[in-house]
Subunit: 227 residues, 2 copies
Amino acid sequence: MPSTNRTRARKAGPYHHGDLRAALIDTAVELIGERGVRNFSMAEASRRLGVAASAPYAHFADRDALLAAVKVRAYDLLAAELPGIREVPDPAGRLAALTRAYVRFAASSRALFEVIYQAGLDKARYPEVEAAERPVTDFFLACVLALTAPAGDAGGAAPASVPGADGPVPDGDAAEYLATALEATAHGHAVLLLEGEFGDGPQAVSAAAERAARATLALVAGRHLLR
Amino acid sequence: MPSTNRTRARKAGPYHHGDLRAALIDTAVELIGERGVRNFSMAEASRRLGVAASAPYAHFADRDALLAAVKVRAYDLLAAELPGIREVPDPAGRLAALTRAYVRFAASSRALFEVIYQAGLDKARYPEVEAAERPVTDFFLACVLALTAPAGDAGGAAPASVPGADGPVPDGDAAEYLATALEATAHGHAVLLLEGEFGDGPQAVSAAAERAARATLALVAGRHLLR
DNA sequence: GTCTATATATCGATAGAC
DNA sequence: GTCTATCGATATATAGAC
């Protein structure tokens, strides 16, 4: 049974892992999935990997630094869904697909989702996290803008509004209102799903994702009511 | 070295608080507001109240029991908003008002909001929490039902007529779809507000509450798109 | 890069005195 | 109802050996 003994059977010396840094991230995801971010500890991760409690500190300055690395992985995984979504022809459909992917991501990678929203990391301290987040938010905002400024002046600098209109820059505000509502709705569905309000199992995930997508379309359709 | 005698100068006996149980709940809310549920500890609450670390255990079996009491207070406070909302004439307006109140509650009682969603209490162990939650959910569901089944029995009080509601009744499904979308949207806006995505200060709270209310109306208007 | 050993904390919870 | 005293567990993080 060499499987229990990871890679050492020959030397009796100190244990050398191939890539402790990567292994720590994996194990962190595991542990967070089992007991939540709040109960995640460096000590337990070390135990599970069979290394000394001090070993992680050779790779991560502290607990938060490890969590930041996990968070980067989370955004990378979510961003991997974008290419497929990009191929949906209309902007509203892309937003619905993005919402669907977001809800499914929350379910399939619960630990990563939890790290994104509950790790409580200091933003200023981990710029790499923000960089990893950017592709997702950029894509999202592009979809919303494509909806709220659909005609020829998509790239237009100054949307010189008609004096009779109700606001100085109606398109920009409209985009922001819609974006906020969509973000809140997608996130809300994901949270409700994780709390079990849709039941359990893959069919609950599908139901939540589908309903979130529908709600997205409903908000897009009624976006004139937002402000 | 008994030099640090706190507030007792008259009696040399053991310190008696007027109502330690209530004081513990207050202090828990305070501490959670400052450092989050996850960092709340019985020990620190005792310290802040100037009582022995063991004193709380005369009133609460353990840490979770205290958190459960806090959670009950949270629902009670939220439920205190209901009478005012009840006076809004139309169901959609009531739902918008409820959403507004929910978002404002999250901001004004951040600690209580956090306990509701992040305490991780065992539901079966604290039935009093579920009892405290009921008035709010009942009112919410009644509003939704008044919308989706507006014909005959709109005026009648519909408290817990069909708690399960997963039956084959078509209107019941429509109500459930709408209820889920509304809940997700309200909660999503509250979370985004607490994360600072609306900025800071009372004007950020108002903006978030107003947008959430608008999104509610948009979803109500487009509820035929849900499923 | 990992180990051993350790300093330092903080916590939950209990027993028994008053 | 509160106190003193205490046990046992667990955590973060550092220093120095190999």
